[in-house]
Subunit: 477 residues, 4 copies
Amino acid sequence: MKTGAEYVNSLKDLKPRIFLGGRQVDLLENPTTMTVVRANAKVYDLAHEPEFADVMTADSPYIGRKVNRNLHIARNTGDLERRADMAILTAQKLGTCNYRCVGADVLNALASVTWELERDTGTPYHQRFVKYLTYLQENDLAVSGAVTDAKGDRSKRPPQQEEPDVHVRVVDRTSEGIVVRGAKVSQSGAIAAHETVVIPGMAMRPGEEDFAVAFAFPNGAPGVTYVCQYSPFTAEREVMPEKYLGNPLYGVRETSMIVFDNVFVPWERVFLCGEVRHTGTLISRFAKIHRMNCGGACKVGFADLVIGAAQLAAEYTGVDKVPHIVDKITEMICLSETCHACAIAAAVKGREEPPGSGVYLPDDVFGNVAKLNVAHGFWEIMKWAGDIAGGLVVTMPSEKELENPESGPLVRKFFGTAVVAEKRLRLAKFLQNWTAGLHGPGTWHGAGSPQAQRMALYRLTDLEAKKRLARELAGLE
Amino acid sequence: MKTGAEYVNSLKDLKPRIFLGGRQVDLLENPTTMTVVRANAKVYDLAHEPEFADVMTADSPYIGRKVNRNLHIARNTGDLERRADMAILTAQKLGTCNYRCVGADVLNALASVTWELERDTGTPYHQRFVKYLTYLQENDLAVSGAVTDAKGDRSKRPPQQEEPDVHVRVVDRTSEGIVVRGAKVSQSGAIAAHETVVIPGMAMRPGEEDFAVAFAFPNGAPGVTYVCQYSPFTAEREVMPEKYLGNPLYGVRETSMIVFDNVFVPWERVFLCGEVRHTGTLISRFAKIHRMNCGGACKVGFADLVIGAAQLAAEYTGVDKVPHIVDKITEMICLSETCHACAIAAAVKGREEPPGSGVYLPDDVFGNVAKLNVAHGFWEIMKWAGDIAGGLVVTMPSEKELENPESGPLVRKFFGTAVVAEKRLRLAKFLQNWTAGLHGPGTWHGAGSPQAQRMALYRLTDLEAKKRLARELAGLE
Amino acid sequence: MKTGAEYVNSLKDLKPRIFLGGRQVDLLENPTTMTVVRANAKVYDLAHEPEFADVMTADSPYIGRKVNRNLHIARNTGDLERRADMAILTAQKLGTCNYRCVGADVLNALASVTWELERDTGTPYHQRFVKYLTYLQENDLAVSGAVTDAKGDRSKRPPQQEEPDVHVRVVDRTSEGIVVRGAKVSQSGAIAAHETVVIPGMAMRPGEEDFAVAFAFPNGAPGVTYVCQYSPFTAEREVMPEKYLGNPLYGVRETSMIVFDNVFVPWERVFLCGEVRHTGTLISRFAKIHRMNCGGACKVGFADLVIGAAQLAAEYTGVDKVPHIVDKITEMICLSETCHACAIAAAVKGREEPPGSGVYLPDDVFGNVAKLNVAHGFWEIMKWAGDIAGGLVVTMPSEKELENPESGPLVRKFFGTAVVAEKRLRLAKFLQNWTAGLHGPGTWHGAGSPQAQRMALYRLTDLEAKKRLARELAGLE
Amino acid sequence: MKTGAEYVNSLKDLKPRIFLGGRQVDLLENPTTMTVVRANAKVYDLAHEPEFADVMTADSPYIGRKVNRNLHIARNTGDLERRADMAILTAQKLGTCNYRCVGADVLNALASVTWELERDTGTPYHQRFVKYLTYLQENDLAVSGAVTDAKGDRSKRPPQQEEPDVHVRVVDRTSEGIVVRGAKVSQSGAIAAHETVVIPGMAMRPGEEDFAVAFAFPNGAPGVTYVCQYSPFTAEREVMPEKYLGNPLYGVRETSMIVFDNVFVPWERVFLCGEVRHTGTLISRFAKIHRMNCGGACKVGFADLVIGAAQLAAEYTGVDKVPHIVDKITEMICLSETCHACAIAAAVKGREEPPGSGVYLPDDVFGNVAKLNVAHGFWEIMKWAGDIAGGLVVTMPSEKELENPESGPLVRKFFGTAVVAEKRLRLAKFLQNWTAGLHGPGTWHGAGSPQAQRMALYRLTDLEAKKRLARELAGLE
């Protein structure tokens, strides 16, 4: 398995075409894209730390040795539990995305669906997939996953859109492969991955075969362009030294739009092509995996950071024993551990899907419930942490002020209570990153918007069984 | 294992002294006390149904054969999962207490603590306990558990109370046994149990040795009196035919105050006596078991009934496809499955406590979180079910009106839409029982009031670890 | 103006046909119907107390002297404020319905709509109304209002129902008057009123003229039958002495279904007949008045009782200074005063409607918001009061137990802490009435279910204006 | 009254010493400080628009002509209503602070307290105040208010702090005036005001006379330094053209720390000095005014913008008729109008305080409730707006990308649905400003943290009266 340094080194050969803030940028030079590189490097390094070996690595039956868990296909419920643990651990250590997370979940969904596809259609999708997976594991590659299409007018199906490219689609098929066009948006981490795996963003219907396509491509493939998100946090990283920022090393979650302009994909990298019937299965299997990890687990790691920081902030101003502060800390713990419980339940109630495939997927109900709880819960956690952090989290001056011979002593004097001003400002900046930034709506929409989980939950519930129970007791049978 | 009928038959020998609504009543004659008897009989019968065998029974190492799970000591996390499943199943089938539930959880807590006590003190508490448990299992006895003292002035410790009997206490010790006085309140099911096991309601301190006592007594023991709860639902059961009531067979949860007036308990039924240091352990182990079962599991079974009934109510008035109704059903499912997830997490993260004892207890954090979620969640579920059920749930006439030749046809005419009036009224009455009755505060306080869980949760959390994570990322190390 | 005693005396001439619990009952004999009589008598008496004169009475321009505010038509926003104050005051003093409240609000809505009807159609509806109102005021009569139809299948319009009588309708028109059939449900107070005013329960459309009817009838009119609600609280009042009940004198809100079996109504009591276009106006004007009073005001008076009782309960067990108790009391105050503020805003932002009519109606937006806040808020208040009251609120024995020479001393001993057992049980019973009974769904559906308020609120909001503001600032103009 | 242009012109004479991001900056050159200048100019201009004359201006009895309402002392409840209306209007028009708001509320509090001080002590504080106010009104000056001290260790009183300057204090008194030291933090708008009025941040006690000081100083006074807040939004404004920002003209709320380094204040500008007994009165009167305006009113104007923008966002993607979107828009309206109602109630229930002073102050209970509702409500509004806005609100590229010949066409193609990409990005950026930025904790802590309002609410409530009501009904008298 690669170390972080080896991973960074390996990026030098890639030449991704990346735009950010209106300019083309170099992945390894731009301060914002570098946060993604650094986060990935840390994930590579964590796999080498003995205390995390159980969580970060797994034994691969494909190559017969240890692999990074981000490339592992779950073979039992224990694997699912460790997968959720990895989401918590990387969140705790990065304070931002494990940018290989979506890729890992897409690979697991494809492991299950390509097995079914090959069984049902005879096309050797699963053989291709296994070969590709073996290649990834042997080289310990960073893989990202791309799901969400640009979508356009949401009241229209893909073929009815004025601009057909708003959903990724196949525009040509040859004996060597396919040619794709379109764009995926809100994609985390592709700019710094070795490979990206693309799946449809929704269930397709007959007549929408061109939009039913799953494939992989290497970073730097001809025709691929990345246009990065740009937020106030991007701007601040451009003008301020890293150490004065909220999450100095890893920043906020960075995403990009990936544009495909007639990108050629050889057949050995095509894992679904035209089988509309299986697209619903694929997206819903991906969703159930990702909702466990992104909803129930990753954000629990984030919550640990926020709770820890809020507790520190309370200690810095001497209010940590005040009953209402204790109560708010408790509330945050309760919200976080509720999501944690949902992730655990999703994992331990997981099943082999389809039977015979050897692939284990988490339970759907609990995965959806995990995400729903975290969507609301994270806003609550932000609220309570913001309460404890105080107005400073919004009105603080820059720590850079401390460098100025005139304003520095003033800031030092008036913010240097209980702890030195550097500490107090640094902690406030860290909490600003969590409570006054992108995390609310980011957490809300990550792994799908809550309305999608609500619809899934209603659909998954056996209301007839519950009605029978009620009728029996009420004397209505 | 006994059948329900055998259980009822066995009650004839007991002569409990029971008061209810100001009069002494006969356990097997009073319509309210009979709901408890019937519920117990159903739990006995469920253990004989093959489809529930896995949930309702377990293999006992003590007597070498199958026992009712209510008498089983958990020996692994699978047992804990099945224990929670039993809570869900009995709740679904009874719509009220499994009145052996607290007893089961007290027995498990005692299995753990007596092992520790015997190891630490040399007194053969665990040997006594095992002998007692064997007796229970061999005779498949119904055991209830009594925990909550009358308490008195809550700002004072037990020895400072004006009336020392407000906490159960030892008033005499002889070579044969002890003599106890006092009262336990809010106790579920003792009136119809064969045996009741009593533990302290709180952690005792040095100087409070008399109040540190755990023991068992048979129903009908001299000096024991039960004073039952009396609610509007009790009254309605006295004056209305059973079939016109909300939960016709099993009613609402019935409790009593158990008064001990110099009750003699032989040493073989005394499981803790004076060891104040172990009382905190005992009550907190009981709490963690019971919060999983009562908080995370039992109420999930109740929620199934409420959701099923609400869905039926929506169908009866033709509104079940209306978006806001679907949304409310979904919300109830989400609340319920959240608690369910917490119970599962509590079970699978359970541990052997103390190591070497062979006894498995659920995880504390998730047990407490389960209870906190259900405390708030059940009020929400009541709210949404009440919304769907409509004003009828409050303003409905009695179904008995249908018997009246004058008013009957009127009620039949105006409530007989979509389904006949009997069905509509019966369902409304069932939902009245859930949404306009005792369940809100009952669920809130069962297994301890939420403030107790909040304090436990704060205490159980390693805030130092979270602070370290935050400091590391914020650049504060 | 009548005294309470004069009111009770005046009832002796009425002979309402009332069924309750399957039997015909006498209004002045049945313990449950008597709670309604007593509540009305108290409202009559309050109008004679000098300290409440400003709230309970008003100067009538129709008869040139003071009238009970329940018969007053609001002539300015001050009247609207006092009307809301009356709702708070009667709620505080009764702990149940002011049973003349709906009648008062229906009269005000009719004052406005009949003026408009007469202006638009020439039919002397307003002259009739004024004559009727003068009659009511001169005799200080108790008037109830009936709005909600039995409805049947909610996916069908009135003429499509299998049973056409599920909405009240005109079945004959003669030169003397009209003949009506049908049923109103969930009606508060008609059994003990002198008169009841009936309006359509929804906006009618062309083709539904028979269902567009508003009229008044005297209690005891031939063809009218009342079928009362029957709840566990009704049963308890049948079997227990009044003093042992939760709200001894006034009980819970009692409603009935009013059945009209070819009831003749003379034209001078018909206030709308066939003008479908005005039915929407009528019901929405009634709604906005009643949502202010029932939503924002009445429940604030209830909340005062619940908060006061919860505070007492905390003092009885010595926990009133504990931070989390203080916090919960504060939360209840905040919820209640929020609704209070909405009622005040609805009143002071009221307007003359239609201009020229002299009738003032509250603001729609704030009336709806008041009701929405109270619907959710009252469940929360019940939750927190139940928390403070403790398990006792559910598991308490009857106070009647104290009469029993055997169980009485036991109850007295174990519940007699801080205050004597009578007090503690009486307070717990009072809180049981609030937190473990009919108030949650009752408050939810009173004045219309929240979904109706939500739809009204959306419809009432000028989203275009808000969009313009956003566009202007965002640089989108 | 000045126009906006005249105001800007008048600033050229001031020479405030301002630091921002570690550098000294010129008020009229820095893009961030200029947002404050622009906002103030707009508030000056609004007073000249006839349609807003009633809201933005008032007749001053001091100078006998119209003044900007920001300099008006409320003389009746109508003035209080208009004051709240002004807060809504300026919020709608600026999307950020009316930076004269705190100043207006401090002036009103001082009008009341100096009258009382002069009456009680004989010191001509009120005469001074009136003279100062006359000067402000005659010159139509922009006045800001400074309240919050740096505070230091919150478990210690001001004199016990290690660094005594963490609370503003008097260090010298001469016949001409006083000399002050210390710092006020989280101060809005002082950098661009002509004058700032300073009051104590808390109630002082005997022995803390040096900290009991209220005074005014002109911008640019010797010894005064401003250190501005610096957030990611500040950084973005430094590097991006204004039109690509979320609230292009007015930005986010900007605050500064004001440091006083031996600043001399002549007696005619000192309004309280040493009278510790009146400091509690002063801060609590200020709080009740400001909680109405900042809590109940200003944020209602913000909510209008957010709701309008969310509705536009829904229309841009064709989902505005989807039931769950309609439901979320409704929820936001309900939250906002609830706060609005509280502000109205606070205004109309206002009273002359102290009697005889001629100064009207809002009601305390409703002011506190307004703030509590908005604190929680604004987080909810952010949540729902973020839901409707979609992931784009976090993951959007910069609109500047459209200028780039390579990436521009890609962004234009994939975000140009329903409306052109410029519009869609501009709206998303506007919503990013609201839902993914400083507004959550900013709104929470503005006008005091919610815990302060909770304590005030509990203290203001007459629990004895509520207990009496409960006792009377429960039969406990």
